[in-house]
């Protein structure tokens, strides 16, 4: 029966039915075939999203959007400029560094991509042309879900159940995120040097650095309070996200004074609608999961994996290869919702650290947001800047390759991922 449901789902999805409904319709088909009473549907659909932890998704979205409306981009850009403006490819370095700063208050690559494209590409393209500028912005946007907070990690932790916590997942991304920023900046310097981009920024001065540090202090205090509070156990991720919303409101109304009351409805509605897309998939995937569980599919899949290989490393490699392909075609949230419940328990049974597996899973699909033909970050950047998809892909592949290399390094050196969360007691 599971196979029929899977084929039904793939067929419907291939013919363009939105994934949430494809899941629901194929579950409906499975229930009818197996002769189940359809009254099992509503409790699963409702209870799967009736969850306090899941609430952190819209709340973190609201936080990120409010921080942007509060005008933090200006401060982040000035801050980054004071440090790296004078480097080769200075303005592009500024984009990468302010992308990293934005990632520490926002958890979504899509939101970051649209913010960075809209604010930075107009000045970037005057120096480097549209292709390289958008390539840089797309790479910087991908830092969003790797550096905490991270919507992707919240969804992962939720779908994986009790073996990983949101706080632990957040911490697993910190060290790889910082390494990634460094690698991207080096690549950017290399490309800028090879192509002879001129030095344009002002010389770094200690006075300016201190001034910009003071100005951006209010921005960087937000992750300190919110992420620090979550990791320190002062509040749950959902509460932390709500604290973030209040922080952003205070910042926008009283410190930067750029936030208007009339901005609020749009931000709230957008966050509600975006999280409902994830919520719809979670709700209808639960009906399919119900059928899978009756069919013992997770056990069968685990047995199958065990027949193929008994080496955890081989398993990691197989999952990584599968996710690279999945990441090219499927929106990442859909992939977490459908695949994490199947593969996370197997990883645990292989003795792989749940945080290590979780981070690799998320990182792989985050890179997938940059790989054609289906890459949301590419779509957003193209939509806002008007760059051609082919040109963007041509300019962003060095960054994609760098990310995959880092993924492989993280796979074989788990300490990069797990050291910090373990040190903090996760």
């Amino acid at each position: 029966m599971s196979l029929i449901v899977i084929f039904l789902f793939l067929g419907l999805a291939a013919f363009g039915m939105p994934l949430a409904f494809s899941l629901g319709v194929s579950a409906l088909g499975g229930l009818l075939l197996a002769g189940f009473d359809l009254s099992v549907l509503p409790p699963r659909i409702m209870n799967s999203v009736n969850s306090f932890p899941l609430m952190s998704i819209p709340l973190f979205m609201v936080t990120g959007e409010l921080m942007l409306k509060a005008g933090i981009m200006d401060r982040l850009v000035d801050f980054a400029n004071a440090f790296v403006g004078r480097m080769r490819g200075g303005l592009a370095q500024v984009a990468l560094l302010s992308g990293a700063g934005l990632a520490s208050v926002s958890g979504a690559a899509v939101a970051d991509a649209s913010a960075l494209s809209a604010t930075l590409v107009p000045s970037l393209k005057k120096q480097y042309g549209l292709g390289f500028s958008t390539g840089i912005v797309a790479a910087a946007a991908n830092l969003g879900p790797i550096i905490p907070p991270s919507g992707a990690m919240i969804v992962y932790a939720f779908m994986a159940g009790s073996t990983v916590s949101v706080g632990g997942m957040f911490m697993s991304g910190v060290v790889p995120g910082l390494i990634l920023v460094t690698v991207l900046m080096f690549l950017c310097w290399l490309i800028a040097t090879l192509r002879g981009y001129p030095l344009v920024g002002e010389k770094a001065s200690l006075r300016n650095i201190f001034y910009q540090l003071r100005r951006s202090f209010v921005v960087f205090m937000m992750p300190v309070v919110v992420i620090g509070g979550i990791v320190g156990g002062a509040f749950t991720p959902t509460e932390g996200a709500a604290v973030g919303v209040v922080y952003a409101l205070l910042l926008g109304f009283f410190v930067t004074r750029k936030l208007k009351v009339s901005d609020l409805p749009e931000v709230l509605l957008q966050a509600a609608k975006t999280s409902a897309i994830v919520g719809a998939m979670i709700a209808y995937a639960s009906t399919v999961t119900f059928l899978f569980t009756i069919d013992l599919l997770p056990m069968k899949l685990a047995a199958l994996m065990n027949d193929i290989t008994d080496s955890p490393t081989m398993f990691l490699i197989l999952v990584a290869l599968m996710l690279i392909v999945v990441g090219m075609f499927l929106e990442s949230n859909a992939a977490y919702i459908m695949l994490v419940p199947l593969f996370h328990p197997i990883a645990v049974s292989y003795g792989i650290d749940p945080l290590h597996f979780g981070f690799l899973f998320v990182f792989n699909l985050v890179i997938g947001m940059l790989t054609p033909p289906v890459g949301v970050v590419l779509f957003v950047v193209c939509g806002i800047t008007g760059v051609k998809m082919g040109e963007l892909v041509r300019e962003s592949w060095p960054f994609i390759v760098a990310m995959y290399v880092l993924l492989i390094v993280c796979m074989f050196v788990p300490g990069i991922v797990t050291w910090l969360p373990h040190a903090l007691g996760y």
Binding site: N50, A241, L268, E331
Partner: protein, 165 residues
């Protein structure tokens, strides 16, 4: 018929937006107050968990139909975008019709479940626990209307453009 559906939908959509705004505001206010109460006033709100979850569940199911209107629900169009226009249009209509059937089934079954469990009360606030299902009923019925509209009056990828305010 089309005008009637258009008009009904734009009315329902604006009500849905108001409900959504209320849910989001309640959610943020309740969760933030809970933290404030715990650390500043050293007490807690015993209904905070139930009320915020209620607001969250409502926000999800009420927002799903608005996502349909904007064509925001993620799907895969690699295959269908290569079909000739009239084939793609027919395929899309069939898919939306199936989704419409799903929404009708979910609405119907939810009404049934809600009616049977209406006497169960929530712990901290004295209302029926079936109010969680009411969100599913309203949201799915609203979604079914939007899907029906798209099946009857497909608009070649542009999506419907009825006014909302």
């Amino acid at each position: 018929m089309e005008r009637l559906l258009d008009k009904t939908l734009s009315r329902v959509d604006s009500v849905a937006q108001l409900v959504l705004l209320t849910c989001m505001t309640v959610m943020i206010a309740v969760v933030a107050s809970q933290v404030f109460m715990r650390y500043v006033l050293n007490s807690s709100i015993d209904w905070a968990d139930e009320v915020s979850r209620m607001a969250f569940v409502w926000s999800i199911f009420i927002a799903i139909p608005l996502g349909i209107r904007e064509g925001a629900h993620v799907g895969i169009d690699i295959l269908t975008s290569r079909f000739p226009a009239h084939v793609a249009r027919t395929v899309t209509r069939i898919m939306l019709a199936l989704a419409f059937v799903l929404m009708c089934v979910v609405t119907w079954e939810s009404i049934d479940v809600a009616a049977k469990t209406w006497s169960e009360r929530l712990g901290a606030i004295d209302i029926s626990s079936s109010y969680f299902f009411v969100a599913v009923i309203i949201g799915s019925a609203h979604a079914a209307l939007h899907l029906l509209h798209l099946v009857l009056h497909p608009l070649d990828g542009r999506g419907p453009d009825y006014p909302i305010d």
